[in-house]
């Protein structure tokens, strides 16, 4: 029952990768924005990594309890769970020893198998788990680009009765007028 002393868990997982670089717009602003984001990412990656309690929380939220409950290790709530208490003690001991995150994860994988990690790793085929969604995103952007191009190149629909379509400034004037009257 020793580990029934107070434990505070801290929400979701941490990640250091920058993912919003695409928001930068142009020129000087873009350069500064990218620099700021890289700096922020570096800060994210470094901050809080030294504190054992924070590391315990961080690693504990990246692992699963192996009792079959399908819960994150630090969220397993079974009293008398055959696995989670021992695993938490092992994790605490490893963090106290100063083992690196990857070493702790490796030792857990060796002991409990790869399913002990709550997410695929960044090695080997596991990388595909992360690559595919972003590959799909870029593929989607590409497809949308093609669709937009084909739509823009499509000839304007003919108006019945042989009337010429309104275009240019005249069309804009009509639109503004129509919006004022109808766009509620």
């Amino acid at each position: 029952m020793s580990n029934f002393s107070h434990r505070i868990t801290g929400g979701t997982d941490k990640m250091g990768a920058p993912f919003i670089a695409g928001f930068a717009r142009s020129g000087d602003f873009r350069r500064k924005a990218v620099q700021t984001i890289l700096l922020a990412a570096a800060i994210f990656a470094v901050l809080g990594t030294g504190d054992p309690a924070t590391r315990f929380q961080e690693i504990g939220h990246q692992m699963m309890c192996i009792c079959g409950c399908n819960q994150i290790l630090l969220e397993c709530n079974h009293v008398g769970c055959p696995a989670s208490d021992g695993m938490r003690n092992e994790l605490m001991a490893a963090v106290d020893r100063g083992d690196s995150n990857s070493l702790v994860e490796q030792s857990f994988v060796q002991k409990y198998g790869p399913t002990v990690l709550a997410a695929p790793t960044n090695k080997g085929f596991d990388r595909a788990a992360y690559i595919m969604p972003f590959a799909a995103l870029f593929l989607g952007f590409g497809l949308i680009g093609l669709v937009i191009r084909s739509w823009k190149n499509r000839p304007a629909p003919a108006i019945a009765g042989g009337l010429a379509p309104v275009a240019g400034a005249e069309l804009e004037r009509f639109r503004d007028q129509a919006r004022k009257e109808t766009d509620l």
Binding site: F4, T12, D13, H61, P133, L137, E181
Partner: protein, 716 residues
Amino acid sequence: MAEIGSFALLLALALSVYSFAAGIIALVFQRKQNPQLALAGGSIPRRTADSVSDEGSLTATLRRNSERIGETARRAGIATFIAVLLASVILVICAFHDDFSIAYIFHHSNRDLPGPYKFAVLWSGQEGSLLFWSLLLAAYGFVLRVRYKTDARLFAYASVIVASVQIFFLLLLNFAAHPFAIMQGSIPADGSGLNPLLQYPEMVIHPPMLYLGYVGFTVPFAFAMGALIMKYPGEKWIHITRRWTMVTWAFLTCGIFLGAHWAYSVLGWGGYWGWDPVENASLMPWLAGTAFLHSVMMQEKRGMLKMWNMWLVFATFWLAILGTFLTRSGIISSVHAFAQSSIGDWFAWFLLITLVAFAFFFFKNKSHLRSEHKLESLVSRESSFLFNNLLFILLTFTVLWGTWFPKISELVQGNKVTVSAPFYNRVAIPVALLLLILTAIGPLLAWRKTSLESLKRNFMWPTIGAIVTAIFLMATPQSWGSVFGLKPWKDIAYFYSLMAVSLSVLVTLTVASEFWRGGRVISRHTGQGMFASMVQLTHRNTRRYGGYIVHFGVVVVIIGLAGAAFNQDKEKEMGYGDKLAIGPYTLVCRSYTQDDSPNYESEWAMLDVYKGDKQIGTMTPVRRFYHASQQTSTMPDIRSTLNDDLYVVFEGVNQDNGHPILRAHLNPLVMWIWMGVWIMLIGTVLALVPNAPAPVRVPAQARLEPAHAAPVATGD
């Protein structure tokens, strides 16, 4: 009773097969008789039928009588509903009569089970839930066939598609998962009982809502498929199915969040969403269905994205079936998959057949689905819908990919991996934030083209509001609780939370500005007050403004989700008078004891809750041991406020001293999630209300000459 139930199921199958076969025969021969009329969506005049030459064969007879055959098919479809309803009622009666000669009742009920849960037995296990699915599908089919006069021919096609899906489920019920299967050997005195996790009030309404959502997507799919097969002219089928789709979407939304609330209230781990395959199975059709609800507007307004919409509506239906396949086949392990069996093969074949059939008709008739208009500008409502759809589909793909990845990994590298919350947090949250940005921008864009000037003008104040909010949240002290004192550089989770809350403010302000601008125009013209003008505005275009209210509901949900970054929990063994402090609260153990009832025995603790020095209430978390199933379940006690939830779980008892072991969670902003869902549902209901007629005011000097008239963009 079991025999009557079995017979009703067999009869339902026969009626469905007849409805399907006779429906096809009627449609084929009507088409041969008069292809022009068939395309126009009208019914066959008797004169035309009589004029068909008498070929003296069955074919000629069928041609002559095709309309009557079609009518018998429709009635058989209606009768299917009655037969399935009879089977369902019999199963429920058997549950109330404790008829343990039926294996299903034995496995999912017991004598002391409270009445509402005996009713819920219908959907608590594999066979019963399939029967319930079949019942809901038959009910949807019933409504569809009763309302056939809206467009007899299109409805006849849709009826055949619904009958084909119905046949699949009735085949399953009759030959693979029979709910009236009889127990072998002697009849037991009592049943095994219902899974304790299902003995919670929400489980009486959560599955029906979820199933109404899953099954309901069959209807828009059936209309889409019918329109595709018959090359239905125009977009009328979309107008017909719009309400079906929205109602179905609302049911699925309600079902998903009821499930989340149930998980939160029963499972005792302090969370509401675990990215479990069963949860993902419900999210995928919801995401695809949401994408469809948006993109279908492009088809209605501009005649664009016709092919894409066909695939979207098919994908939504297909993902609903795929979800069922996932949860019942055992192919992917899940703690929530209550009913696993070997019926996975049936589902796999059904999925394959529907995919092939849809692809066949799509490629055969896709020339009919060409877009009618061109894109005039990237800064337009059309392009925002394109990107909206891309992100929704990307989220759907991410969830699908994450759900299947353990299986794919096993096939490729020989070992399973776990794909849980950390994966989805890394991949799905950034995409969801991008979607939130689009939700803010989209409503400000006009159809066809928006000038950058007007976009800048409309977007400036909401953007300033969002930036001010972000700065305020970072500058305030953390002691204010919830999302205050957010330091995004401390943790990526904080960064996500800050982005989510700020973008939510952005969306809220853009939605508010839409109401404000429209209300101001009406107020100016009518002299009414601002609020009355906004009410009138909403009533004039319920779909648009109901949709905005749904968007507002979504941001309220997102603010609630953002609170998860600040969750805390503590665990402690507590004797009399022991204290546990968490956040601003202190729990003091006043008592702990045991209780007994016919269905279960319970252990509970009584805790006084203090905020500062003031006692603000008492909490009694309970743990139950169910006699029939010999299983344990926790009933957390939750004290909800707008700021946070204090969530206390009775985890167990120290066997040495009898002290209860309690875990307290402090979960900020959870109530916002449930409030947001209500707002989403109110918005959906509002969007279903018919528009009030708007007075037409055309100043004489503004009238256009007919030769200069051009289509103009209006909002929706």
